[in-house]
Amino acid sequence: MNALITTAVFGIVLMFVGLFVKQRQYIKYFAIAGTVLAFIANLMDAQCGFGMLHGMVEVSSFSVLFNAVAIASTALYFLLCGSAFEKVGEDVADYFALIFFILSGIMITGSYSNLLMLFLAIEIISIPQYILAGADKKNLKSNEASLKYFLMGSFTTGMLLMGIALVYGATGTFDIREMGLGTGELSPLALCGITLLGFSLAFKVSAAPFHFWTPDVYDGSPTVFTAFMATIVKAASFIAFMRLFHVSFSGGNVSGHWQLILAIITASTLIIGNLTAVFQQSVKRMLAYSSIAQAGFMLFAIVAHNEMASQGLILYAAAYSVATIGIFAILLKLNDYTFDGFNGLARRQPLVALMCTIFLLSLAGIPLTAGFFAKYFVLSAAIQQGNLLWLVIVGVLCAAVSAYYYFRVIIAMYFKQGEADATEVTPGFKAMLVIAAAIVIVLGIFPNLLLQYL
């Protein structure tokens, strides 16, 4: 609750900062200070632990932990990519403000206990993203991305609302803990509502077959904003998705109605995401498809509704966000976004190449990186659930495929001849990369450092 207010207020503060601070490079530091404040406010939330706003929001150790992960990742994002904001356009302070508004939406995703709050969270997250996608106003692709995202996004928002209305009609309440589905026979109304909610949230997390907007939007948006949209925002949507389905729709025999649908969505997301990523020529677009593929793994956590799944999703959110932000930060320093643009990077920038390798290994799920335990937990959750072994086998085979395209970058950096060079690599930037890589490895050896707070 404190975190929610802090982030929202800080968004407004930053808009005014833009009026008074003329040196644009200093705005970044205000934003970083804002994340620090939000982090502290979030830790203070941990003490209260009860429902607020007349039970609309429920603070739990889970939501506090996820908020901490999200805020920390955002701080890392500002530190690594903050200076790239200035290259997008004039209104640097506004971009930071929009990110803070998104962050305030994210603060609700782990703690909402009312369908209306869910709707608010999703919308607060989405609308600033439409603007950010089109931030590069003179660029046609950026405009296309924005329009595409807006049209598709509003369409699914409609589906979300219809789903909420139908579920409300069936249960008579907006409170996700008191729906009492599964005690008796499931009404067709509720079934339609659950399906619509599932589809609209699947759209938000870019699960196949609702993923068609993702590559174009991620590719067209300014790279620095793609880094944010593809990581923290996506993880937050998953948290919202999981909370709704685990709290309201898993009692009694209800999960039997949607589990197979979601399992099929998961399998197709994995297969489409991984196979399409193999054929990409641009690293940025490859990362867009990789985000779909990784979404497939995060969907395991929703299909398998048990405790291990929520542990796994938190770990996944942290592992995936840190690694992907790191790779995007390196990508931002390069001139050429194709695979060939990475050729020979290890010779020019050995440290940057090494850190990039660690991030890529983590995304591929190699042991001793955070990505391994993230995958491990979600796969275990699915096996523990039973009946999903086929899905797990599909998952691990897709993970082997994913090694192919992640290693292409490693091969380009280390084993190919080329003149790739990163511009403006400061010692501070390198230090931040090392810290991010250290987080990835430490979580890969001791995942309980994060999970003990759950």
Binding site: Q311, L361, I366, P367, I383, Q384, V396, A400
Partner: protein, 481 residues
């Protein structure tokens, strides 16, 4: 503590070596490998008196109840010994070579050693999996960075193959974990009684992972290319030690955990292995490239070991374990000589060689000895293992034994043909320039020759070592059905 040291020494020194360059890296890694060998010998001494003192347990991931659990039995001690003997030999052999970015090369070598030692020592399934992958990653970079011109795609194929296989194993491990009372320990895995149906499909999840690593037909296609393209030092690691990880996996994790599954599918596994033996031997006869010839001969030998494992009686299992050690020693000897020839003459094509015996007598004598050991002539170390394996296979099924015994003849054909082409015949302009062995190479090959004869005449220490807990557990688990 000693077991922990075995992993820590190569791990820490490996990381330090990255910061060194040139001569410093060479000397430092050599010292490190000798230190690991010394610790192994100390562990062996302690193993004879109080084996339980070698166990090491520390809490790792409390949420999963996974523990950092290390231990030693006869089989793993034997493999640890093989690993720690191999690395000094390899480092001595390549002493004269100047690798580009030597620090990274030797650092990665030591890291892969740490990974392999971890595989042999861990008694916790999750830890085993982590080390299993950890051994692979450094080898991937070693082969790609310092390998031949086609190394990148070849190594990549190798990597994706093994990665896919090990992920399937991971699924199996997680499944079994949920059947236990939430523990990854080897004890809880083996004391579990899974239903026949479960064991039947779990078998394949594990078997594929191990079969790719060994490799067993039809999962072997990565292997000849990878051996050919890797720098020879890495090929020695791959063929001498790393393939043993697959065999070890079957012995430690597949047979005791899924005895019913093994019983159900043993004929299929033996059949695949026997096909592999004959197939690889026939291809080996046709090769003119020395490295590919040895690669195929290795597939044949490993196939025999795999068949003997699944024949699954006391003799065959004892034979496999003895042979794991001896095969490692012999094949490293062969690679050292090939490395020497390739270094001096710049070719490994047998058609261009000939008459080396008259130019370089020491090299020729040692090549003959190592080759004969590879054919398993009596009085060499290869004999006792192969004898035990064949007699075990014979007890299991006469036909399998008969067909795979053809491989002995085929092995003689391709090895003697190689000797003939390389050592004898006309000296040509190229081979006339051959110089004989240098001190370092002489020391390494001398050690190997001593081991060949000592273990060939007196294999008792090795047999005593492996006829300990390892086999009895496996056999007891199966006969107790």
């Amino acid at each position: 503590m000693l077991t922990l040291l075995l992993i820590l020494i190569p791990l820490v020194t490996g990381l330090i070596t990255f910061g060194l360059n040139g001569r410093g890296a060479k000397v430092f890694s050599l010292i490190s490998s000798f230190a690991t060998l010394a610790v192994t010998l100390a562990a062996w001494a302690q193993f004879r008196t109080s084996p339980d003192a070698l166990n090491f347990t520390a809490s790792w991931i409390p949420q999963l109840n996974s523990q950092f659990n290390l231990g030693l039995d006869g089989m793993s001690l034997m493999l640890v010994l093989l690993t720690t003997i191999s690395f000094p030999l390899i480092f001595i052999t390549v002493m004269g070579r100047n690798y580009e970015k030597a620090g990274a090369f030797y650092g990665l070598m030591l890291l892969s050693q740490a990974g392999m030692l971890g595989v042999f020592l861990s008694y916790d399934a999750l830890l085993f999996y982590v080390f299993w992958e950890l051994a692979l990653i450094p080898v991937y970079f070693l082969c790609s960075m310092w390998g031949g011109e086609k190394a990148i795609p070849v190594t990549f194929k190798f990597f994706v193959y093994t990665f896919a296989g090990s992920l399937l194993m991971l699924v199996g491990i997680i499944y079994i974990y949920f059947q236990t009372e939430g523990s990854f320990s080897w004890q809880s895995f083996t004391s579990l009684s899974l239903s026949n149906n479960e064991q039947s499909w779990l078998f394949w999840l594990f078997f594929v992972a191990f079969a790719i690593k060994m490799p067993v037909f039809p999962f072997h296609t990565w292997q000849p290319d990878a051996y050919e393209q890797s720098p020879t030092a890495v090929t020695m690691v791959l063929s001498g030690v790393m393939v043993k990880m697959g065999l070890f996996g079957v012995l430690r994790w597949l047979m005791p955990v899924l005895p019913e599954g093994v019983y159900m599918w043993q004929e299929a596994a033996i059949l695949l292995s026997v096909i592999g033996i004959i197939y690889a031997s026939c291809i080996a006869i046709m090769q003119s490239d020395l490295k590919r010839l040895i690669a195929y001969s290795s597939i044949a030998h490993i196939g025999l070991m795999s068949a003997a494992i699944f024949a699954n009686n006391e003799q065959s299992l004892a034979g496999v374990q003895v042979q794991m050690f001896n095969h490692g020693i012999n094949i490293i000897g062969l690679w050292i000589i090939i490395e020497v020839i390739e270094q001096r003459l710049g070719t490994k094509n047998m058609q261009q060689l000939g008459g080396i015996a008259s130019v370089a007598p020491n090299l020729s004598i040692l090549l003959v000895i190592v080759s004969l050991a590879n054919i398993a002539l009596p009085l060499t170390n290869g004999f006792i293992g192969e004898f035990l394996m064949f007699s075990g296979l014979f007890q299991h099924n006469v036909w399998f034994a008969a067909v795979s015994a053809v491989a002995i003849i085929l092995a003689a054909v391709y090895m003697l043909r190689m000797l003939q082409k390389v050592l004898f015949g006309e000296v040509n302009a190229l081979t006339a320039t051959t110089t004989d062995l240098k001190t370092g190479e002489m020391i390494a090959l001398g050690c190997i020759t001593v081991m060949i004869f000592v273990l060939g005449v007196y294999p008792k220490p090795l047999l005593d070592l492996v006829s300990g807990t390892g086999i009895q557990n496996t056999v007891a688990a199966l006969t107790g059905r």
